[in-house]
């Protein structure tokens, strides 16, 4: 792939790539990132079409099928009350993926405006938001999420809120830093000079420029959020039974390690594959969106 030299005069207009197109071209060139993206797409399809894909009902119990090892009929085996593990893994993707995306969505919706405000306004506003962010970051991630989920009450929705709130300071810091670095650029000065109100400058001129960094952080934070959701579900603070989630499946698996170890293998593997895919995509996006790299 040949990069366009910066100082070369481009006479042919269609030779200029749009930033999005260039990022996509660079992303495609990274096998590991592409692999991550493909796996994520497959996981999303699996979650959306779970009722069509799953071979059995994920919550139907059967006393004749308790803790059966993997077989031709039950590929992943069955659990302690005779439910098909493959079907539960397939349905469990719904809890993990939606928790990952929704909690990061909450963190972005809360964190980005606060970060823009802190970076753009400066002064005491910045001071207050900054110290509040420091305070939230001082409580270890999972401990704050557990405390929030505990006080809100155990449910998947509350787990998402808890993780989202806990992840908010990450986006406040990132947005603030990025805002500070572009705030005094000429194009922002120009926008200010022609009399644009601050909110328009923030949304139309600053936000688009910090979007790449936000996308990278969002992808990597989804990975963290999925592990956090699995952790909360493992502790009984996420998805409530009988609905399946990978975290709570691991919790019940732990009690049957000596006679049904397969129960512990699949949910962990599912979390691992999902998380590593988001990490690969995030790393790839970082390289692809970095204007300094080729």
């Amino acid at each position: 792939m040949t990069a366009v030299p910066v100082n070369a005069v481009q006479s042919v207009p269609d030779a200029i790539e749009s930033p999005g197109r260039r990022a996509w071209r660079r992303l495609k060139a990274r096998k590991s990132a592409l692999f991550g993206l493909v796996v994520i797409v497959l996981l999303v399809i699996m979650a959306v079409f779970a009722p069509q894909i799953a071979p059995y009902d994920p919550i139907k119990q059967s006393w004749t099928l308790v803790r059966k090892a993997p077989s031709a009929a039950y590929w992943f085996g069955t659990d302690e009350v005779g439910r098909d593990l493959l079907s539960r893994i397939i349905f469990g993707a719904r809890a993990s993926l939606s928790a990952g995306v929704i909690s990061v969505g909450i963190a972005i919706l809360a964190g980005v405006p606060l970060g823009l405000l802190a970076g753009y306004a400066g002064g005491w506003v910045d001071g207050v938001i900054g110290r509040l962010t420091d305070a939230m970051l001082a409580v270890p991630f999972l401990i704050l999420a557990i405390a929030l989920a505990a006080f809100l009450g155990p449910s998947l929705g509350n787990a998402m809120i808890a993780i989202g709130v806990t992840a908010t300071p990450i986006f406040v810091r990132l947005t603030r830093g990025q805002t500070l670095s572009v705030k005094n650029e000429d194009y922002v000065e120009a926008a200010r000079a022609v009399g644009n109100p601050p909110i328009r400058i923030a949304v139309r001129h600053i936000l688009p420029n910090i979007l790449p960094a936000l996308m990278v952080q969002a992808t990597l934070t989804i990975a963290t959020a999925i592990i956090a959701e699995a952790s909360l579900s493992f502790l009984g603070l996420g998805q409530q039974p009988p609905l399946p989630s990978w975290g709570s499946m691991l919790n019940s698996a732990q009690r049957f390690l000596s006679n049904a170890p397969w129960m512990a293998v699949w949910p962990g593997l599912a979390i691992f594959i999902t998380v590593i895919s988001f990490n690969l995509l995030g790393d790839g996006l970082r390289d692809a969106l970095d204007p300094r790299s080729k």
């Binding site: 420091d134 409580v139 999972l142 405390a147 390690l257 990490n279």
Partner: protein, 313 residues
């Protein structure tokens, strides 16, 4: 230098204030009447009335906060609803266990993370560099509670080499203590080894392309001396700071690790408190972890100022 440290200390005051507000506010999230929820199974109106009095729930929220803060400042973190023991005592009893676990985990993480990071930087672009990077990615993507469960299956259930759960204090029996803590410490250490490795690698790469390393090479020092005495020494300074910060991650990770290995530490305390709806204990644990983290953060910053000659005024 002193003014830098002083400035850092001043900055701490609002942060600590906000931490206390966040932790206090948690109880405002409880749906319904907090006195009724805090009473738990207890439905005796007298008990509920007593709780209301004790926590001054009949007064405005800011007043409640001031009373709560007054207690915290004098070392009173409230009382466990479940076992009627002061929260501060519970925390002090469990803290050493988690600190032992976290320290062992940190040693393991530093050995693995820094070791592999240096190797991969020295062998940049070779197969071993690639392998180390894959290993690091796998490390940060593995949920550590799953790793714990799989290790219990392999080393405890399958091979029978190590106990699956339990804890022995090193002061009672050192080797038994090591046997009960080595698996959880490894699991916990693994969660930050990947991060340490990535940072070590990039710091080493930067150091190795610097002028002083080129000078050291030019004057004919052996590659070993160049790497160990010149590159590593400079590259590892920020890693020590990072290590202090990652201690917070270890405290987080200890929650699940202790749960899986049934280790009676800090993490188990908060989880049991959550199950028992023992909210004062949850708040106490969060407060102590946050304070620990803030103090470590401060020490890391001061350490950084001390070892960095450019910041010494």
């Amino acid at each position: 230098m002193l003014s830098l440290i002083g400035k850092r200390l001043l900055q701490l005051i609002p942060t600590v204030f906000f931490v206390s507000v966040i932790i206090f506010s948690l109880q405002q999230l409880l749906p319904g009447d907090p006195a009724l929820i805090m009473a738990g199974e207890e439905k005796d109106p007298e008990v509920i009335e007593q709780i209301r009095k004790q926590y001054r729930l009949d007064q405005p929220v800011p007043v409640q906060y001031l009373y709560w803060m007054k207690g915290v400042l004098s070392g009173d973190l409230g009382e466990s609803m479940r076992i009627k023991v002061p929260v501060a005592d519970l925390v002090m009893e469990k803290l050493p266990v988690t600190l032992q676990l976290a320290t062992m985990a940190m040693i393991i993480a530093l050995v693995i993370g820094v070791g592999l990071g240096v190797v991969s930087a020295v062998k940049q672009g070779r197969a071993i560099d690639y392998a180390v990077n894959v290993f690091g990615l796998i490390g940060i993507s593995t949920p550590n509670f799953w790793l714990g469960i799989m290790m219990i299956f392999f080393f405890a259930v399958h091979l029978g080499w190590l106990p699956a759960s339990g804890y022995v204090s090193p002061f009672d029996d050192f080797w038994a203590s090591m046997k009960t803590t080595i698996m959880p410490a490894f699991v916990l250490g693994n969660s930050i080894a990947g991060v340490l490795m990535r940072h070590t690698r990039s710091a080493m790469l930067q150091a190795m392309s610097s002028d002083y390393v080129r000078t050291a090479r030019a004057k004919g020092l052996s590659e070993k001396v160049v790497i160990i005495k010149h590159a590593m020494r400079n590259a590892l300074t920020p890693i020590i700071t990072l290590g202090a910060l990652e201690f917070g991650t270890l405290l987080s990770g200890a929650v699940l690790t202790e749960q899986i290995f049934t280790i009676p530490g800090f993490g188990k305390l908060i989880v049991d408190a959550v199950f028992n709806r023992d909210y004062a204990v949850v708040q106490g644990v969060v407060l102590v972890t946050a304070t620990t983290y803030i103090v470590l953060n401060l020490l890391a910053d001061i350490g950084y100022i001390l070892v960095n000659p450019r910041l010494r005024g």
